[in-house]
């Protein structure tokens, strides 16, 4: 097991390296220039352009730039964001918290509710409830997230005044306010974006869980469990669900990174200070240092998620061989 884990971690590190290198090249191949974003509104003086290029080493050949980048990464320095003028480290550090908060809340909501509903659907397969849930979840799935976000913000925030419509904290709340008040404030801002993201993604969880559980429910050992006389709930949740969890674990591994960089629209609609919108802006503006910083973070997350998925498989399924 230890050897397996060591090998698996090595693989993860290699993957990480390849992905980062690949992204570096991709980014440089893309047309457009980091200075273009600034030129969009304003005419720039050639001297100004030259100076900016020199500061960000854009005037050097690509392999030099890559070497400098790798050196920086090894020192833990990701450079200066061209557009924000702040160290990439600082930017990422300030965004990772909100991102994990939103991603975590979404995954929690998505997986608790999604798994539970998916199981209900499978158990009551073909019932009116099953059909209704299918239709509702798919409708949610096919709804663009920005659309749903805007409607929710309008209804809950503007019409009903129940929750704040955007941002992560109220700027009027003093920074030295009691801990609980600040937590409640952030919590209130979190509800709508997390709900929006959950609604548009929950169909996936539900459908996979439903399909997986249906597969398992036909297997003979479910009959064995029932014939033993254990409660139906134990049959479903203990015997069937444990086995139906595997495809869902994979799904979980796939979603972790998606929630980091894939929430662009929702982050924008709710002005959530997360990584997704930061990354999108950086890519569109060709802010190379920031793009590489977010990419590094995203790649790290994907690789970790994939590793965790494999470990979870190994832990949950006694039959998987550690080879």
């Amino acid at each position: 097991m230890t050897a397996w884990l060591a090998r698996r971690i090595t693989q993860a590190v290699v993957t990480f390296g390849v992905a980062v290198a690949l992204m570096f090249v991709l980014m440089r191949l893309a047309p457009g220039d980091p200075l273009s974003r600034m030129q969009e509104d304003r005419m720039m003086d050639p001297a100004e352009i030259a100076k900016t290029r020199a500061i960000f080493k854009l005037d050097q050949p690509i392999h030099r730039q890559f070497a400098a980048f790798v050196k920086g990464v090894l020192r833990g320095d990701l450079g200066l964001s061209i557009e924000h003028g702040l160290p990439v480290n600082t930017l990422l550090a300030s965004r990772i918290g909100p991102t994990l908060l939103l991603g975590g809340a979404t995954i929690l909501l998505n997986f608790t509710l999604g798994l539970w509903l998916g199981v209900r659907q499978a158990v009551r397969r073909g019932s009116r409830e099953d059909r209704t849930l299918t239709a509702l979840s798919l409708a949610g799935y096919a709804t663009p997230s920005f659309w749903l976000g805007l409607v929710l913000a309008w209804l809950v925030g503007i019409k009903l005044h129940w929750l704040p419509v955007a941002g992560m904290q109220s700027p009027l709340l003093a920074p030295d306010a009691p801990w609980l008040a600040r937590a409640a404030d952030i919590g209130a801002h979190l509800v709508l974006p997390a709900l929006t993201l959950s609604i548009v993604t929950i169909a996936g969880t539900m459908r996979y869980q439903r399909a997986a559980l249906l597969e398992v429910l036909r297997l003979p050992y479910i009959g064995t469990a029932r014939a033993k006389g254990i409660p139906e709930r134990a049959v479903i949740w203990r015997h069937a669900w444990r086995n139906a969890l595997f495809p869902v674990i994979t799904l979980f591994g796939l979603w972790l990174p998606l929630l980091v960089t894939g929430a662009v629209f929702v982050e924008m609609v709710f002005a959530w200070p997360g990584l997704g919108s930061l990354a999108a802006g950086a890519a569109l503006g060709r802010d190379y240092p920031l793009v590489m910083g977010t990419a590094l973070l995203a790649a790290g997350l994907v690789v970790t998620a994939s590793l965790l998925t494999d470990v979870a498989y190994a832990l949950l399924d006694p039959r998987v061989r550690y080879t």
Binding site: R125, G126, R218, L219, P220, Y221, G223, T224, A225, R226, A227, K228, G229, I230, P231, E232, A234, H239, R242, N243, L316, D317, P318, R319
Partner: protein, 328 residues
Amino acid sequence: MTRVLDVENLRVSFPDTGKNRVYPVDGVSLSLDRGETLALVGESGCGKSLTSLALLRLVPSPGRIEEGSAIRLGGTDVLALQGEALRKIRGRRIGMIFQDPMTSLNPVFTVGNQIAEGVRAHFDVSKSEAWQRALKLLEEVGIPDPAARLDSYPHQLSGGMRQRVMIAIALSAEPEILVADEPTTALDVTVQAQILEVLDRLRDSHGMAVLLITHDLGIVAGRADRVAVMYAGQIVEEAPTDRLFARPSHPYTQGLFASVPRITGPVGRLSPIGGSVPPPGAWPGGCRFRPRCPQAFEKSETMPPLLPVETDHRMRCWLAENGADASD
């Protein structure tokens, strides 16, 4: 003799195309006395497994047990039970062994876990006590080094061992009836004998009634007290074992016997029955064996009831009316 199980006119239906329903089990009646072994014999697809599932109300959705059916366990009307009361009879009154030991054990739980779960479902015992009983059960079903095996996962065991575990699970709540659905089909011949030996021993030591479901007449002889032969959802012949073996009367039963190689009989060609059991939607009117029956006649076009052949021996064939059976 105490009657432990009474099944009357059991009908199980499944939806077919449109609004039609089909009846893979169509009016089965059988009974079981304490300590008695009844063999339910038939080809695959004849409804015998479904019958056994119906006893525990485990007919898979969307199938259902029709109105007018009756299943009584001693004084309990099984079809009237709901929820907790229904759960209480599963495993406790009737234990069940399934056909394929490979897929009938949950791959993600240890053997001990799966047996102890059955114990704890019906007895208010502590976890460790349940594991103690599980250990004893493994000993009883003849698993070597049972203490170590408790922590094994099913995939670490051989087929025979798994079937022993299945038996242990079936016995975990000390049921008065054991339903064994093709317990040896998936196993190789030497292991088959061992498993049957375990079953016999346990039946005797626990005083259980056994419903043995099989397509293999070879394992019925010397083991079952009575035999019921099923065809196309119905019981077509029922008799004490020795009498049936001596005088198989229904043409279908005769066909079954003809397809069993016998060591004692004259060496001749096996004569299997032509064709196979048609699916439930395609059963013919009248006697359902008619298309495959070498002795079918005009009257076969109406459905025969179970007619007495002799004492305790009945069959669903108009030939019984003649007082003579088909073997003459």
